[in-house]
Symmetry: C2
Subunit: 354 residues, 2 copies
């Protein structure tokens, strides 16, 4: 009898708890990433690890708070991304990497799954929070994608304050640029020695493909499902260290680095952007969910851990579906990331085993 | 008896003819477009109609010739696109429209279905044939997408000769810009009169959405299947008349304006680019073919004539599948286009009824 009544009490308690989360409130959740790469445990001191975990927690909670109050997913993802853009730990906003010529050229995009509206900026140099400018492009212009000085002219019409380029100067990123240039020169010399013809055809084009993976990563992003059932995705980046020629990566490309469609899924990517554009990764994951009825876990896994690996593309994504399920696959050693579902604490991870 | 032997002779002749086309030679075909829009019959004089039909015939034949000789589909589509880029009839290359500030900013992209490699340029001002620069980005750089002055710096490293900006000046396009500006000012005044708040929020941003459709169109593109079974797609454009703020349309966006994947399909789009980016049109058509086993005709029709119409997006695509089947749906009054399959003459069309 005692056992039976205990069981009953447990069942009632479970039902009450389920009720408070699932019946009174619609599910909502958020996932964020701060870049994927060859993040080995040996590379990070315990202090650095903690700094990343703290900032990821702060970012995911900033977005979660918006969702909890009933706010829109497009607002929540910006709140989360802003925290990372304002931290030098990530390759976005203040921590943006240097271009070959010693500048900072940032890309960002955002998509609202409810309206299928989207906004993107590429190559902006004086915008503190590029994700917010992408949002202004989405809501205040008839365009989806604005670039370079033109995007900053648009920013001025929208009341944005431009910041000086040195706002984005950090010593660690500057050192990365110097390291990258040394490696690029070495790679070029080796190529030249091996094959003068090949070198002639390259004609001084830096082969960033020969750089370590870590020079390509650090992009930040967020995806969220709000209580109204609306999905959103956003991505912000400084791009590749030592990039040249006005290179645009996947982050501002809708369907590649960012995609959101209500009823299907929302995705934000980080990795070797050229592969994410060619395999239109964000759009392909959602197409598998939509047309093949695959789960978000399976769809994201197939693209990141099968298709991209076969192609040689490294990186990862965060993805969320209409029920708030989250997938965070990556084919690199680590990916800075955090998730938080309604009523649960934040889950912060760097490696496969947390 | 006589009937029987006649029948036999017919069967043998048919077999011989089928044999020469289908057994000795692999199927190959090409499709091109020169833009979609409100092309009413009243708008074109018989002479203008003929000029378009002649140039489309020249372009499709230029590509066909490459395929017939066993050349690569990526070469064939460039041959076809170059003809249109070198004609003032189309909004690409020499006929590129004017930006709001009186410049020409051209976008182009190309994708090789065999390697899934891709190249794109945006906002170039001094490149005679932007599709060829996109090809150089694909083959001679580690990047997929280069923009603005950086893309032209890359062009110089590859031996391209820059042409002066006035190479792209044409009187008819200049008149279009003046017309567009008058209409934009009128639309802005009307908005201001209706709602001062709304105008304040726009803060002088020209609402190109209020322009006639024809200011948005004229992009050129080509898709092809070569004898080796390789698919390719390419797109080249001057963008929208009176565009501002470094606006990038769908043409240089892989997965939106251009996409090619062997075994699946190749697509080039033309239309109101913002919608083609948001609905990642080229990638979505191929996803329907790949994941839902839909025919190229059905997949392209569903996206252009159902999904885009519901969304309010106008334009069209040319699409080709692995067997050389071609679809050319558009939801506007007309789309300049031509197709040619192996052993057949060119088929040149402007409206639904040719």
């Amino acid at each position: 009898m005692k056992n039976k009544s205990t069981l009953l009490a447990l069942i009632l308690a479970a039902a009450a708890s389920t009720n408070s989360v699932w019946a009174d409130e619609k599910p909502f959740s958020i996932a964020i990433h701060g870049g994927a790469g060859t993040i080995t445990k040996a590379k990070l001191t315990p202090q650095q690890q903690q700094a990343y975990r703290d900032k990821l927690t702060e970012a995911v909670n900033a977005g979660y708070k918006v969702l909890e109050k009933g706010g829109d997913s497009v607002v929540a993802i910006q709140a989360a991304i802003n925290v990372m853009e304002n931290s030098p730990l990530f390759n976005a906003g203040v921590g943006a990497v240097y271009t070959y010529d010693g500048a900072h050229e940032m890309d960002a995009s955002i998509m609202d799954g409810k309206t299928m509206n989207a906004g993107a900026v590429s190559g902006v140099k004086h915008i503190k929070n590029p994700i917010n400018l992408a949002d202004a492009v989405m809501n205040q212009s008839p365009h989806v994608m604005l670039s370079g000085a033109g995007a900053e002219e648009f920013a001025l019409t929208q009341g944005f304050t431009l910041v000086p380029a040195n706002h984005f100067d950090t010593e660690s990123r500057y050192k990365q640029l110097q390291d990258a240039k040394v490696k690029l020169r070495k790679a070029e010399s080796e190529l030249k020695a091996k094959s003068p013809d090949y070198q002639a055809s390259l004609n001084g084009v830096p082969q960033i493909d020969y750089l370590d993976l870590d020079y390509k990563f650090g992009t930040v992003g967020a995806v969220a499902l709000d209580k109204k059932g609306n999905l959103a995705a956003g991505t912000s980046t400084g791009g590749m260290t030592a990039k040249r020629f006005g290179r645009i990566g996947d982050s501002p490309v809708i369907g590649a680095g960012t995609y959101a469609e209500n009823g299907v899924c929302a995705v934000s990517a980080t990795g070797h952007g050229e592969y994410f554009i060619r395999y239109h990764v964000a759009g392909d994951i959602c197409a598998k969910v939509k047309y093949q009825q695959k789960s978000i876990i399976q769809a994201a896994d197939e693209v990141i851990n099968q298709r991209l690996i076969t192609a040689g593309g490294t990186g990862g994504v965060i993805a969320i579906d209409q029920r708030g399920n989250i997938a965070t696959p990556f084919n690199t050693e680590g990916m800075y990331r955090a998730t938080r579902k309604n009523g649960e604490p934040a889950d912060v991870m760097i490696w496969r085993g947390r």
